[in-house]
């Protein structure tokens, strides 16, 4: 007797939907026949709100988009505004931004690692990776003053200069993190259960990944060596040496391996930036009431989740005419159905985890 297909609502209240996401599933026993993400539970109308805020006031609001990588959002927005103004940023400020954003990438990847492993059932990894993340958040607290919604970029640079105690904290973190990462890799990399849960699960081909517009680690896991930091350098990324990790299979395990390698590369970039930190200003003065002549601009950066972009259209006043955000999680979530159709119900959780979505960024 064939098992009747049942409709299953996963979320909006469910332990592993990373926020308030609802997945409408049709399952045949355990096999997923169809899947539809339902989003909008966290929709705050950010884009509408931005139209009534000044350019400076928008920055703290971008913290609330991808709340696990607030500084990356700050940077993407601030760079877009600076491009619109034609503002040149001092070299030291650019390096400080790189340090902040790479630390943020570490924090975001570490949070992802913990949640992903927890979704697959390895709950201890969450606590180990959060120990590392805590160290980075302490750095943010000491440097900028907040841990999660950091608000650590200003139009024209970064709000504070980097002082020696914070440099010491960063150097200590750079030494500590690889040790604990090695422990986590010992727990997961060879583990047969982890491999069962990740290898060949949620695979997507290179062509599909491009068609769906996947970006970031999810795209690199399919074999496309695409990293905006390297290919369209911004904020002095061309000064640093780093590798762009690429894997071929496009499955959950490859996404995991790509991100683990990115953690190492980020550590490398931070180390280089600290060693070569140029002297100079950390913030250039911009007029207090910032009026930007009419124009439009689209600027993207490589955020931890993928390609994060801001389209800004100005109209000559101190408020933008329109700000549109291209959020990587929104794009990546769209391909969830392709990845998980025909897989088991348990795998949907793992695939969702491996995509590293944040609902604050999807719903805007």
């Amino acid at each position: 007797m064939a098992f009747q297909e049942i409709a299953l609502n996963m979320g909006p209240q469910h332990p592993s939907t990373h926020g308030v996401l609802r997945l409408k599933l049709n399952v045949d026993n355990e096999v997923v026949r169809s899947l539809e993400p339902v989003i909008g539970y966290l929709h705050r109308g950010m884009e509408k709100l931005w139209e009534s805020q000044t350019y400076v006031q928008i920055i703290p609001l971008t913290d609330r988009l991808d709340y696990l990588a607030a500084l990356s959002n700050n940077l993407a927005y601030v760079l877009a505004v600076e491009k619109l103004m034609g503002l040149e940023i001092p070299k030291r400020a650019q390096y400080l931004r790189v340090i902040l954003v790479e630390l943020q990438r570490l924090a975001s990847h570490l949070a992802w690692l913990g949640f992903m492993a927890n979704d697959v059932g390895a709950m201890t990894v969450l606590l180990y990776s959060f120990e590392d993340r805590e160290e980075i958040l302490d750095i943010f607290e000491a440097y900028v003053g907040a841990r999660l919604t950091v608000h650590g970029m200003r139009i024209g640079g970064v709000p504070f200069d980097l002082d020696d105690p914070v440099i010491g904290m960063i150097r200590k973190a750079l030494d500590d993190i690889p040790k604990r990462i090695a422990d986590i890799e010992k727990l997961l990399n060879d583990n047969r259960i982890w491999l069962h849960r990740t290898q060949g699960v949620g695979a997507i081909s290179r062509d599909d990944a491009l068609a769906f517009g996947l970006t970031g680690p999810a795209l690199r896991a399919t074999g496309v060596a695409w990293d905006i930091r390297r290919d369209i350098p911004y904020s002095s990324y061309e000064d640093f040496e780093f590798d762009v990790p690429v894997r071929r299979n496009g499955d959950v395990n490859d996404r995991y391996l790509v991100r683990m390698e990115e953690i190492r590369q980020s550590l490398r970039i931070v180390r280089q930036a600290l060693d070569r930190l140029p002297a100079g200003e950390h913030l250039v003065k911009v007029p207090r009431v910032l009026k930007i002549p009419p124009g439009e601009v689209f600027h993207t950066i490589e955020a931890p989740k993928g390609e994060l972009g801001f389209y800004i259209k100005s109209n000559g006043t101190d408020k933008p005419e329109r700000v549109k955000m291209k959020s990587p999680s929104f794009i990546n979530l769209q391909s969830l159905e392709r990845m998980s159709k025909g897989d088991l119900f348990s795998d949907v959780v793992g695939i969702l985890g491996s995509l590293d979505i944040v609902l604050g960024e999807i719903d805007k």
């Binding site: 884009e47 517009g213 695409w226 769209q334």
Partner: protein
């Protein structure tokens, strides 16, 4: 018409190819802040994007952006615009195609060309109320189905 003041040779070639192929359909070509933007007629959006994708290799759709110019700026330009931000791997080229849409008008959907346009078109429908012909499943994406109005329109009331 290829513009002489485009100082990026690759983008200049793109603009030239579009002008040669479509001529009249290209209403405007601008190059500002190192970004190439072309404005085309709404009925030509599919051929233009198809040409950009298959001939010129713009293989990814970065983003779709809806704009509301309220009140409508004049007779020539319509109230709404949809911008297609295209992207070329691995040369790192970007081009922005703009289409003007009037109140109550519909434009062709590009889901057949770029799969990732699916949710982006739904978002624009949700926020601006623009219809996309041929979209497989044009529903609201963020707001509940019974919601009245389209919040990113400039005349949407800000206070209840």
């Amino acid at each position: 018409m290829p513009e002489e003041w485009i100082d990026a040779p690759a983008l200049k070639a793109v603009a030239g190819s579009l002008a040669a192929r479509f001529g009249e359909a290209i209403l405007e070509t601008t190059f500002e802040k190192k970004e190439l933007a072309v404005r085309v007629r709404a009925e030509d959006v599919l051929p233009v994007l198809g040409h950009l994708k298959s001939e010129l290799g713009f293989n990814a759709l970065d983003d779709m952006i809806g704009l509301d110019r309220f009140p409508p700026p004049g007779d020539e330009r319509k109230r709404f615009a949809v911008l297609y931000q295209l992207y070329k791997f691995p040369e790192a080229l970007r081009v922005r195609v703009a289409v003007d849409v009037g109140e109550g008008e519909a434009i062709p959907s590009i889901v057949g060309l770029y799969r990732s346009a699916d949710w982006a078109e739904r978002e624009i429908f949700d926020m601006f109320g623009l219809r996309f012909l041929g979209h497989p499943d044009l529903r609201r994406i963020y707001l509940p189905d019974e919601f009245a109005g389209h919040p990113l329109r400039k005349d949407f009331p800000l206070e209840g």
